[in-house]
């Protein structure tokens, strides 16, 4: 299949996806479970992919995702709360200090840039550290950010430990899909570029990569900043989804959860991250809800079903994947229509080759 054909097929599929989403939203209503799950899942997909960009493609173990999400979410919220309600939101801080209003898309990008800027500063300090120390240091920075954002003295900007609210959310399910789609495309292009190959070289062997002329520190910093940019945008989208922002919810537990989703999907596979995010969110918010409700068959109460059981089942599944299927769903493979097409046609080709008795192995 040549390149032109691939591009045409991709465009057709993307248009079909968006048309499908648009029609589904019209049919089932904006507040239906399906649409809510889709919105959250696509945001998680971006966040998990941004973790995967670090962990899976650059070999940098970071647990600071929540901190960058926090930066993105706060930046978005601060710059989009309408002037009219600022007095209400910042009721303890005289209506806040920042009186600039940005359009939604600009505020999202600004959120990403703020996160990237902080990643740049933090990266300078922590990227010299090795695997587990790096994880702990990034986790530490996320916790420090969380404390700073709850600080009274910054209340005019961050509203202290109170929530930020009344900023615009999604009008349609298409919005997060478009934003995440653009971000994911950018990430995929990056991975397949020479930069992406440099990341992979570092992941596989730092010393060999350095010997091949890759500037370790610069490349790591670049990966860290880019990943954080997307984490910031994801944080902004999450704020749009939740309609409130509170610093105390961006815990290290959130980073862990996202990292574990990346593990389910396969560390080193972007499409794996997307699939795992959709499965995780759908199961967590929707399909496995019944595990939290006591159920009766006749008069017999099904044992174990009680509030919190869903999470236990999840953790067990995660442990099983971590211990026995370390590849996750996708390993390092990528799901692609072209790949499937080639596999189907390739099978035929292989048979032909065998029949003719030879040919070079690929």
């Amino acid at each position: 299949m040549d390149k032109k054909k691939q591009i045409i097929i991709s465009i057709v599929l993307i248009i079909a996806l968006f048309a499908g989403l648009w029609i589904t939203e019209r049919l089932v209503g904006t507040n239906s479970m399906l649409i809510v799950v889709l919105k959250k899942a696509v945001i998680y997909a971006l966040l998990v992919a941004s973790i995967n960009l670090l962990q899976g493609f650059s070999g940098l173990f970071s647990l600071g995702e929540a901190g960058f999400m926090l930066l993105g979410a706060y930046t978005y919220a601060i710059f989009t709360i309408p002037e009219a309600v600022k007095g209400n939101v910042y009721q303890y801080y005289n209506g806040g200090l920042i009186h600039v209003n940005l359009p939604v898309w600009l505020a999202l990008i600004l959120g990403g840039l703020v996160a990237a800027f902080f990643a740049f500063l933090i990266g300078f300090v922590v990227l010299k550290l090795k695997s587990d120390y790096l994880a702990i240091a990034t986790l530490g920075f996320a916790e420090i950010l969380r404390a700073v954002f709850q600080w009274d003295a910054l209340g005019g900007i961050t509203n202290g430990s109170n929530i930020l609210r009344s900023f615009p959310g999604f009008k349609s399910v298409l919005y997060p899909f478009v934003v995440v789609g653009l971000c994911m495309t950018a990430m995929m292009l990056l991975i397949n570029s020479s930069y992406g190959r440099a990341y992979k070289a570092i992941r596989d062997d730092e010393i060999a990569a350095e010997a091949m002329g890759i500037n370790l520190f610069k490349t790591k910093l670049q990966a860290f900043v880019i990943s954080s940019f997307f984490a910031g945008i994801g944080g902004g989208l999450l704020a749009m989804y939740q309609l409130t922002v509170k610093a105390s919810t961006f815990t290290s537990g959130l980073s862990d959860e996202l990292l574990l989703i990346a593990v389910i999907g396969g560390i080193g596979s972007m499409t794996g991250s997307v699939i795992a995010s959709f499965l995780y969110v759908a199961a967590n918010e929707w399909w496995l809800r019944f595990l939290d409700q006591p159920a009766f068959i006749g008069t017999f109460q099904v044992p174990l079903l009680r509030s919190g059981f869903r999470k236990v089942v999840f953790s067990v599944i995660i442990m099983v994947i971590v211990l026995f299927y370390q590849q996750g769903l996708m390993g390092t493979r990528e799901f692609s229509i072209v790949g499937i097409y080639e596999k189907l046609t390739g099978l035929k080709k292989k048979k032909k080759v065998k029949a003719s008795g030879g040919g070079t192995e690929k």
Binding site: Y133, A135, S307, G308, I318, M319
Partner: protein, 315 residues
């Protein structure tokens, strides 16, 4: 004349510094006492981190949650048995838990890349927290009062619990015993050898699995003692109770030089005291952040900590 004057001034400024120091101690005494007490408790957790890291090069993220589980075990046991039975049983069950975690979550990954083991540790921590959430039903549990150590006492005008006085000597006794164990017994020698060179020890016929199990047993035993002291002060147990003390204990271990037991203890006391003085100064929001700021400082400026050995990576 001049000399007398300068001597007098010097003396006066010395006096005023001393006085202000004394005043500082007097106003902050409750916080310093709380710091010493919580520092000792962090120390008991930190030993578990530092020993496991020393041997397996693994940050055992589940250790803080094991500490929390020890609290819950004690709570549930105290409902059915008197305290003198439930306390030793708590220690026994916690040790069993630590032992099981190692066998289930870390042993299968011994030859896998280090990040796999770390992810497994994160997953284990997630599992324990969720199990605790399920079992407690999301309600915080009140730790049972241990009669002797939860009694109130007054030291120089500051009221505190008996546990504050007991913690430091108890920690020192336990650490001394542990150091002796590591120095003079056969298993201790094996531990040192495994910490020094994993593969060579294996070749020399040391039973690695036994040594690692022993490390987890000691670590979780000390964590269970730590939980008895800690939850006497902070009596509400929720599933995330172990996360922060666990992280702080880990920071203490890094600060002291990971792998070094006296280092971990000293680091823990310093962190406990600083954190509480910061609370005393009215910066409660930053008491947790301080720990992490310290961690980052240590990692940047002296990565091997106070007492750690310098190590270089080999190709």
């Amino acid at each position: 004349m001049k000399m007398v004057l300068t001597a007098f001034i010097g003396n006066a400024s010395f006096c005023s510094i001393f006085q202000s120091l004394a005043a500082f101690f007097k106003t902050n005494l409750p916080y310093i006492l709380a710091g010493i007490s919580v520092g000792g408790q962090y120390a008991l957790i930190a030993i578990g981190y530092t020993m496991v890291y020393g041997i397996l090069r693994l940050v055992n993220f589940a250790h803080g949650d094991v500490f929390m589980t020890a609290g819950l075990i004690c709570f549930y046991l105290s409902l059915v048995t008197p305290l003198y039975v439930s306390l030793p049983l708590t220690a026994a069950f916690t040790v069993l838990l630590g032992f099981t975690i190692e066998k289930v979550a870390y042993k299968p990954l011994r030859d896998a890349p280090r990040t796999s083991a770390m992810i497994s540790a994160l997953g284990m921590s997630y599992l324990i927290q969720n199990l605790a959430l399920y079992i407690t039903g999301g309600l915080s549990k009140q730790y049972p009062q241990i009669p002797f150590i939860s009694r109130s006492v007054t030291i120089a005008g500051a009221t505190t619990k008996m546990v504050t006085i007991i913690t430091p000597p108890l920690v020192i006794i336990l650490v001394a015993a542990l150091v002796a164990l590591i120095k003079y017994t056969k298993i201790g020698m094996a531990m040192r050898s495994v910490a020094d060179d994993f593969d060579t020890s294996r070749l020399m016929g040391i039973k690695i699995d036994k040594v690692i199990s022993m490390t987890f047993i000691i670590g979780t035993f000390l964590a269970s003692i730590g939980s008895m002291l800690y939850f006497t002060n902070y009596t509400a147990i929720v599933p995330t109770s172990g996360a922060m003390p666990g992280l702080k204990a880990f920071v203490a271990a890094v600060f002291g030089g990971i792998g070094s037991i006296p280092g971990a203890v000293i680091g823990a006391f310093i962190i406990g005291i600083c954190e509480n003085i910061i609370k005393g100064l009215g910066w409660t929001t930053f008491s947790d952040a301080f720990t992490f700021a310290l961690l980052i400082m240590v990692l940047i400026f002296m990565p091997s900590g106070l007492f750690g050995e310098k190590k270089t990576d080999k190709v």
